[in-house]
């Protein structure tokens, strides 16, 4: 009889473990549902991270064949400028070739950083004139997109002693 009670004791201990594990896992699942970032939040953070990267990263810190080619060809002369500064400089020159180079820079970075399922555009808004630097289309047109997320950053650049570009607005849009 004692043996039988001992066995039942083990059974109840295991049962207690199982019970508490079930309660704990249930709570974990319920709470994690709320913790997990929403899809919008994830997309928003992705765009913010991307625009911060462009804003803060110096050209000399980027290892990219297209950038290296522009440096070798003396199209980029100051590698201490950030990526956004260099885009501004190309934009400010107004030269179609330079705009093409700005497009190439953004295209090269975007392919690696923003998943292909997202549409993407990089615009400079300068005194109410919007210039598209790069646009990546997907099956869904931006007008029909379920979700559009935009990140705006103020941009400017001292060109020389007497001239300054900006302040203008760099607008990065991602949609799906």
């Amino acid at each position: 009889m004692f043996k039988s009670l001992k066995k039942k004791g083990y059974y109840f201990i295991i049962d207690a473990f199982i019970g508490s594990t079930i309660i704990f896992l249930s709570l974990m699942i319920i709470l994690n549902e709320g913790v997990r970032p929403t899809k919008i939040q994830y997309n928003y953070e992705m765009v913010e991270e991307y625009s911060s990267f462009i804003l803060n990263t110096k050209i000399e810190e980027v290892n990219n064949p297209y950038f290296t080619m522009l440096i070798d060809d003396k199209r980029i002369n100051d590698t201490s400028l950030t990526i956004m500064d260099q885009i501004d400089l190309f934009y400010f020159s107004g030269n179609p070739g330079d705009l093409q180079r700005a497009r190439g820079m953004i295209q090269n970075l975007t392919e690696q950083l923003i998943p292909g399922k997202y549409g993407f555009s990089y615009n400079i808004i300068d005194q109410s004139t919007t210039t598209n630097i790069y646009n990546r289309t997907i099956d869904t047109d931006i007008k029909d997109a379920k979700l559009i997320i935009a990140s705006k950053k103020i941009t400017f650049l001292q060109i020389n002693s007497t001239t300054m570009f900006g302040p203008a607005m760099t607008e990065i849009k991602v949609w799906i």
Partner: protein
């Protein structure tokens, strides 16, 4: 009876084990509740991202202020030279110059307290206009409100070929999207910016000259005698002369001092150049030494008791006093005529 007793004992044990189960659950939850709290805080996407956006703007604002200060200062110095040239009048002293500099930077007029005073002609490049550009843009596009007050602006010179501008500014940056201003940056900061004077008109000659022939801008001499006063000779002097450049000379006057016609030597920042006859009034006054700060200030002239000789430098007849000629390694063999002795 025995069976009933057994069942009762077992149900008591069941209660005990249930209690153990609850205790385990409480223990697990207590251990992991810290993680839940941390993660929960991350669940507020709006405020987190918004604060990041404003924080980036705040950093940009100070960088923009620095860049704008440099461009505005350069343009203001150029504008003040032109203003003084048009009036053919030097400033009374440093304070008078600094006040005009300050007022041009703030309101694009030579006297901010007088609405009718002359414009500095800076267009939208005076500092206050530059700052208003970014505050308007941030308000319209980012919904960020910026208020600022420039407490003081001063200019000084510590190096020969650059001036230093110090700005004391207070600013408040707040998020417009929330009435409670959950994100607010308030700061009073001092920003010091070096500004190169390369390319600016040399003030003394421009203010003195009424013939429009003199347009000498500041260019830095970078020849082999740049930092070696002992290396000057006729060849190097000719190179310096043809370069139209200025060199550091401690017994000369600084760039800024020239605005109030102060001829006292500046050990840190004195600069000098040799004038070309072609940039002087016709006919050039051969009785003066053609060292720029001497020429315009009547300091080294025949009437001043100096020995002035004419030297052939790069096929030009250049009048120089004997002391200067010696400094530049010119000898009697380079003399083509004596003006006075």
């Amino acid at each position: 009876m025995d069976l009933k007793l057994k069942k009762l004992k077992l149900s008591r044990k069941a209660v005990l084990f249930s209690l153990i189960s609850v205790l385990f659950s409480v223990l697990f939850i207590t251990i992991f509740s810290q993680n839940f709290n941390t993660l929960y805080e991350d669940r507020i996407p709006g405020s987190n991202i918004r604060i990041k956006v404003i924080d980036t703007y705040v950093r940009n604002f100070e960088t923009y202020l620095g860049d704008s200060t440099q461009v505005s200062t350069y343009r203001t110095l150029d504008a003040i030279t032109n203003y003084s040239y048009n009036k053919h009048k030097f400033f009374a002293d440093f304070n008078s110059f600094n006040k005009t500099f300050h007022d041009c930077m703030i309101c694009n007029r030579v006297d901010c307290s007088n609405v009718g005073s002359d414009s500095c002609g800076l267009g939208l490049y005076y500092l206050d206009a530059r700052l208003r550009n970014i505050t308007t843009l941030s308000n319209q596009q980012l919904n960020i409100n910026t208020t600022y007050h420039i407490n003081s602006i001063s200019i000084e010179q510590r190096l020969a070929f650059e001036v230093e501008v110090t700005i004391n500014i207070s600013y408040n940056i707040t998020d417009n999207s929330d009435e409670k201003y959950y994100a607010k940056w308030s700061k009073e900061t001092i920003i010091t910016q070096p500004v190169s004077i390369i390319g600016l008109l040399e003030p003394t000659g421009n203010i003195n000259d009424s013939t429009d022939r003199y347009n000498r801008t500041i260019k830095r001499y970078k020849g082999i005698c740049e930092s070696n006063d002992a290396c000057w000779n006729a060849v190097n002097t000719e190179e310096f002369y043809k370069d139209y450049s200025f060199r550091l000379y401690q017994n000369s006057t600084s760039f800024l001092q020239r605005y109030w016609n102060d001829n006292s030597p500046s050990s840190c920042c004195g600069i000098e150049t040799i004038l070309h006859p072609s940039e002087l009034p016709v006919p050039p006054d051969g009785n003066r030494s053609y060292i720029e700060h001497y020429y315009w200030n009547d300091a080294y002239t025949c009437s001043g008791g100096k020995t002035i000789s004419v030297y052939n430098i790069s096929y030009d007849n250049v009048s120089l006093d004997s002391g200067t000629a010696a400094r530049y390694g010119l000898t009697d063999s380079d003399v083509v005529g004596i003006v006075c002795r």
